[in-house]
């Protein structure tokens, strides 16, 4: 923020100074305007790009170019030191621009490009120092140079040295520009579709500007060696030439700024990816979404199978994870230091450093979300299954107790009863007193009562008729035993799964028990029917209503039992009267 403001102020100061210098020198209005305007375009584009993407150096570099442009424009003045500095350090912006277009949008590690820019910068520096220290126009011009400013920095004017250095550095600079041009063209050819979309304004304007710079550098060499330029142009062609060169320079800040703005647009894929990954549920949804979001049809998504310790593709097939290199790059997604997934992609996607980072963040979130969802779903299934198992085990245990009561305890009681009869017979034969007979009779009665109670107990634990004969007779018995008259409407064909029959039986039992206990009803109705694969159970009465579905652990336990079978139970009991207990259980 502060650096940007300072740069902006520097731009304004430069523009004003340049305008004042131009006015002072009586420069033609055309040059005055062009020099100022081009510098301001550099500053403007640089500041815009800087504001848009403060994280990359492009914007700042462009404003630097603006400053260097203004500096160079003081060369052809008669302002002594200012002119010497301007002339010595002219066209440095071309070095910065070459570096900018080669590395755009920053973060590229290209050795050849770096070496080329280094050679370029070194040549510029050598030339600048030479010009600054050995070039003094009045001293070197034997014919005199009216109006030529003297160079206060020139310590040892030397025309021969200057010429040698000019030719050597000029030639090197032209060659370096040639390399830059080749690099730019190669980069354009290697770029993937999305990065071409970002890069083309930068590369196109870069090629133009570097070509212009190369032409001008070559022109200078030609001027020094042959005393004339490459092309001897008559008016108006010299005008056309200078306009073309100017145009090439104007285009570059605009092109680079446009590239920066496209970078911003290119971040959109992360958001688009988030949306697509979130909605699509196909097996290869991440791969498809990534390919679309990044316009890279070569993208492969790999998942790490921690159990098997292998990489699998989106369809679950095991394979070998591609390696970096050969134009491919692999983005590794990790969780707590262990790999989760990897994205193999075209290496050119690395050209926008923010892109893969944001896409990686979205993917990491999405994969984590998938993992948590799967985990919760798995746990839910486990709980569901274990609840059903618990219920089945409890039911089986009740059946077993009922069997044991009948086959064990009851037979034992019967055995005792029969021995009591034998005892009675023996007592009769032996002529026992009446008091003994009375006692035997009382014990026999107790025994019969015990057997009756045991029968009721066994039936309460598990009604055998439900297992043996099914829901309809079991419910008939419940209705028969209810103290409130019950209308039965049972429409069942054949048997249902045991768990369903048991749950339905308990729904009716609890419903009728509540009718008898709380409703004060005069009639009740039990309906059982199978409708589109679902057993519907209804126990209704014409009583006082107002029953709470939460009242009593009986209903809650029942609700759990029904839910364990994927069913649902509701209690409708308005205070205006009447209660209806309704349960629906899938037939499984």
């Amino acid at each position: 923020m502060n650096a940007r403001v300072v740069s902006g102020l520097a731009g304004v100061v430069f523009a004003v100074v340049t305008a004042l210098v131009g006015l002072d020198q009586g420069a033609p209005a055309r040059f005055l305007v062009l020099d100022t305007v081009l510098g301001m375009i550099f500053f403007g584009a640089g500041l815009l790009a800087w504001r848009r993407r403060p994280d990359i150096a492009t914007g700042a570099a462009l404003t630097l170019c603006g400053g260097l442009w203004f500096l160079g424009s003081y060369g052809p003045t008669d302002l002594g030191g200012l002119s010497a500095v301007g002339f010595s350090f002219e066209r440095y912006y071309d070095v910065v621009l070459a570096w900018l277009v080669l590395t755009f949008p920053g973060g590229r590690r290209d050795r050849v490009a770096r070496a080329t820019v280094a050679v370029l910068a070194a040549s510029f520096l050598i030339r600048s120092l030479t010009r600054l220290l050995v070039y003094d126009p009045p001293a070197l011009n034997p014919a005199g140079c009216p109006g030529c400013p003297s160079n206060p920095f020139a310590v040892a004017p030397n025309a021969a040295l200057l010429k040698t250095v000019e030719v050597a550095t000029g030639t090197t600079i032209v060659a370096a520009y040639g390399v830059v041009l080749v690099l730019l063209i190669l980069r354009r050819r290697a770029a993937s579709l999305p990065s071409r979309r970002i890069l083309w304004p930068v590369l196109a304007s870069g090629v133009l500007a570097v070509a212009a710079a190369a032409y001008q550098a070559a022109n200078l060499v030609s001027d020094v060696t042959r005393d004339r330029g490459l092309l001897t142009l008559e008016p108006p062609w010299d005008e056309v030439e200078s306009w073309l060169l100017f145009g090439a320079r104007v285009l570059i800040p605009i092109g680079i700024a446009a590239g920066v703005f496209r970078l911003r647009v290119a971040q959109g894929p992360a958001a688009r990816l988030a949306v697509e990954v979130g909605t699509d549920r196909g097996p290869d949804r991440i791969e498809t979404a990534l390919r679309q979001a990044l316009a890279d049809p070569t993208i492969e998504v790999w998942h790490w199978d921690g159990g098997l310790r292998t990489w699998t593709d989106e369809h679950g097939a095991a394979g070998t994870l591609p390696q970096d290199g050969d134009g491919r790059s692999v983005l590794m997604l990790e969780r707590h230091g262990t790999p989760v997934a990897a994205v193999a992609h075209d290496a050119v996607l690395l050209e926008d450093p923010g892109l893969l980072a944001s896409v990686g963040a979205v993917l990491r979130l999405s994969l984590e979300n998938d993992r948590l969802t799967a985990q919760v779903r798995h746990q839910l299934e486990e709980v569901h299954a274990s609840r059903a198992r618990l219920l089945a085990a409890a039911d089986e245990e009740r059946r077993r107790i009922e069997r044991d009561l009948h086959d064990g305890t009851q037979h034992r009681l019967l055995g005792i009863s029969m021995r009591m009869q034998d005892l009675r017979a023996h007592a009769e034969t032996a002529g026992a007193p009446d008091v003994l007979f009375d006692e035997l009779e009382a014990v026999a009665l107790e025994l019969r009562e015990a057997m009756r109670e045991m029968r009721e107990l066994a039936r309460g634990i598990h009604p055998a008729v439900l297992t043996n004969k099914g829901l309809a007779p079991a419910v008939r018995t419940l209705a028969r035993r209810c103290t409130v008259p019950v209308d039965l409407d049972v429409a069942l064909n054949g048997r249902l799964p045991p768990a369903v029959e048991t749950a339905a039986y308990y729904v009716v039992a609890e419903g009728l028990a509540n009718v008898a206990r709380h409703s004060l009803a005069s009639r009740s109705e039990v309906r059982l029917a199978v409708s589109s694969g679902v057993l519907v159970i209804e126990v209704a009465d014409d009583g006082v209503g107002g029953a709470s579905p939460d009242a009593g652990s009986g209903l809650r336990g029942l609700s759990d039992r029904v839910a364990a079978l994927d069913g649902a139970m509701t209690v409708t009991s308005p205070t205006s009267g009447g209660t209806c207990l309704r349960a629906e259980i899938p037939r499984l």
Binding site: A444, V465, K469, T477, R480
Partner: protein, 223 residues
Amino acid sequence: MPAGRDTPTVIVADDSAVVREGVTRILTSGGFLVVGQARSADELLDMVSREQPALVVVDIRMPPSQNAGLLAAERIRERYGPQVRVLVLSQYLEPDYALRLLGAGVEGIGYLLKDRVAEASELVDAAHRVAGGGSAIDPDVVAELVRNTRGAARLARLAPRERAVLGAMAEGRSNRSIAGRLRLSVKTVEGLSAAIFDKLDLQPGPDDNRRVLAVLAYLDHRD
């Protein structure tokens, strides 16, 4: 009672040895000739086809499946008809079992709670009735039907004595048996029975068995 020419033969089937032995003793002293004891439904069917007894006393619960005894009883009714009568001993106070067993007819069929084994005379009485082609429904089972409030409401128009006679009729007793049990004269029972049929709008059946069916159907009716 010594086994004579007219002594009815019987096979006792129960998976409990105690009960098997006990029932055998009671029936033997009650005038039956026990010609076999079966421990399973298959054994019973086997024995019946060999011995062709007059009566089978079978536990409703027997191996292999929970109600194999009941299934065997139904099979015997189907296959041998009136030649082999069946008295089922049951742990269950479920009228549905009794009613289903009765099916189309009540001749020579009985459904008694197992508790009755503790009352030798009741068991012997029921066995004789069934062996003689009659029927025997456990009084508790009849009570279960009668205690159905709907039935009770409809039975409210009967006098207490008439209700007692109705219950005894449902058990499968003849007028003579009812008279003996309620300490009434046969004539009185006949009168009460006519009054009951009149009040309940039932058609008096031509024989005791039809009468049982009509009464049971009436008691079980749910409208």
